[in-house]
């Protein structure tokens, strides 16, 4: 029965579709995933909740398409009748789980008479999964009866009645006006094609996507042995072999789940030694990620590190001593991530790193044992435990890391002294006269 009030104590909730509809000819798996994604987004758009899809059995919201008695006390009854249910938040393993009757003819963009609109039902069930009970209010998605399709998932807005109820549970999401008038345009527009979140190959780069060959990067980090170059709302990824995974940048929020959607850039990123959490800095706040999901309780102020109150330019772990170095303007700090304490005697003047410019964009360690410092379109290399930039630097970032053609640089080629400084992608000469080479990737 609906509890008097139940809600999640955490705000970042994972979800996963454990079983898909058997009659996949009606709705493909990608479409089902997209519809679930958008049905959850309806709620996270207005309340301070974040949903991220995960693999494995640990998801908070497990979604199943099942039929008849499936051992949860709510047996389905074939076509019609009861069509779905979800479990309220709580401590039980089933909390948040959402079940859809696989005997229904689940549809999307079909007239009411031809089946059960999956998006409409999913929005209703996820309302239960975050703590809302049924209501008799006419203008509510939480009425218990199926009321037909609700229109385009990309344009759907919750009725005001439901917004108020979810705000009572979780508060109002930043940037949402709780005084806005009830939306009356729901359902008037014809559905449009979905921009499937998982179909990356079908998603064209946004107009504001930066050019990796000319841009200056906000942050660079080695994460799980791979290199990540961040710019604005996007990032590029290089394998351990220094091969660019894709020429196209990936939106940060598509991969790093839990950062605020309004965050338009990051200042610095590093992988924490010891527990291998990944730390993102922006302004005076930082977020800690376990893999690509943000941890509970973030953001937190960077004063946790004992850092100054004006942010950081760069953060990296020096392979020589496993300490974390933070740079800001002309100073740097040394932090011990194992004891969670700033080392005494810092900050120091960053000129101690001979040849490294002030006001860095970011820095990172690399698998060759060297440290790399990035600023503008160039980077500097410091080998081993030294604190001095090697000869031959700076060099162009685009050419050496991001598979760009010769740039406006007359720097000599770096020496190949056993450490790799060239991208190892197999290049063919560009025949198109474009500003990048064609790279054949094997992974």
């Amino acid at each position: 029965a609906p509890p008097s009030q139940s809600k999640w104590s955490k705000r970042h909730l994972s979800w996963r579709i454990r079983t898909f509809p058997k009659e996949s000819h009606l709705l493909g798996r990608d479409t089902v995933r997209a519809l679930m994604y958008y049905a959850l987004k309806v709620w996270s758009d207005i309340a301070p909740l974040d949903f991220h899809e995960v693999a494995g059995n640990q998801a908070d919201i497990q979604i199943d398409f099942t039929k008849a008695d499936h051992n949860d006390g709510y047996p389905f009854d074939g076509p019609g009748g009861t069509v779905a249910h979800a479990f309220y938040p709580g401590d039980r393993l089933t909390a948040g789980d959402s079940h859809f009757d696989d005997d229904e003819a689940w549809t999307f963009r079909s007239p009411d008479a031809h089946g059960m609109d999956l998006f409409a039902v999913a929005v209703h069930e996820f309302g239960h999964a975050i703590g809302l009970a049924h209501t008799s209010a006419v203008e509510s998605i939480m009425r218990p009866y199926y009321q037909g399709p609700v229109g385009d998932p990309l344009k759907y807005h919750l009725p005001y009645e439901d917004k108020v109820r979810v705000w009572q549970l979780y508060g109002v999401r930043d940037s949402v006006s709780h005084t806005a008038q009830p939306n009356t345009s729901r359902g008037t527009d014809p559905p449009v094609l979905l921009d499937l979140p998982e179909n990356r190959s079908a998603v064209l780069p946004e107009r504001d996507a930066p050019n990796r060959c000319t841009t200056h990067f906000d942050a660079v980090a080695q994460i799980r042995g791979e290199a990540f170059f961040f710019k604005g709302k996007y990032f590029w990824r290089l394998t351990r072999e220094k091969q660019l995974v894709s020429l196209r940048p990936v939106p940060i929020h598509r991969f790093w789940r839990g950062l605020p959607t309004f965050l338009d850039s990051v200042d610095a990123v590093y992988e924490r030694p010891g527990d291998h959490r990944i730390v993102f800095f922006k302004g005076l706040k930082y977020w800690v990620f376990k893999d690509n999901n943000v941890e509970e309780g973030y953001p937190r102020p960077i004063s946790d590190f004992g850092l100054p109150t004006d942010g950081v330019d760069a953060a990296f772990v020096w392979p020589h001593n496993d300490k974390t170095y933070f740079f800001k303007d002309g100073r740097y700090w040394r932090y011990d991530d194992y004891v969670h304490r700033m080392d005494l005697g810092y900050p120091k003047d960053s000129t101690l790193w001979k040849g490294v410019p002030p006001q860095l964009d970011d820095a990172m360690r690399w698998s060759d044992g060297a440290s790399y410092f990035f600023k503008g379109a160039e980077y500097w290399r410091v080998a081993g435990s030294g604190m001095e930039v090697e000869d031959g630097y700076p060099r162009p970032i685009g050419k050496d890391w991001l598979v760009c053609a010769d740039m406006l640089s007359d720097s000599p080629a770096p020496e190949t002294n056993g450490t790799e400084t060239h991208p190892r992608g197999r290049h063919r000469a560009s025949h198109a006269g474009s500003n990048y080479e064609v790279c054949s990737c094997t992974s």
Binding site: P2, P144, Y145
Partner: protein, 87 residues
């Protein structure tokens, strides 16, 4: 309702129990629902569904009971008409 069949009545009682308007029958004692409780439950269901509160299982009410819906109950135990009566 004069034209109500036993089957319709059973269906209605099952439905009302399933969605929180009537307490489920006691499987040990086989206790039956009282007419008064049934009328109150039907009225509560009609009110929740936006129908006129007649307390009678008429066609419109039975039609609403056949409408596809979510499996979860509409009323919690504390909200059910019978619980309120006991209290």
């Amino acid at each position: 309702a004069p034209s109500l069949t036993d089957e319709q009545l059973d269906t209605g009682v099952d439905w009302l129990s399933k969605f929180g308007y009537l307490p489920p029958p006691d499987p040990v004692t086989g206790q039956l629902q009282t007419k008064e409780a049934l009328t109150k439950a039907i009225k509560a269901m009609q009110k929740f569904g936006g129908l006129e509160e007649t307390g009678v299982l008429d066609e419109e009410t039975l039609g609403l009971m056949k409408t596809p819906r979510c499996s979860l109950p509409d009323l919690s135990e504390s909200e059910s008409p019978l619980t309120r009566r006991r209290r």
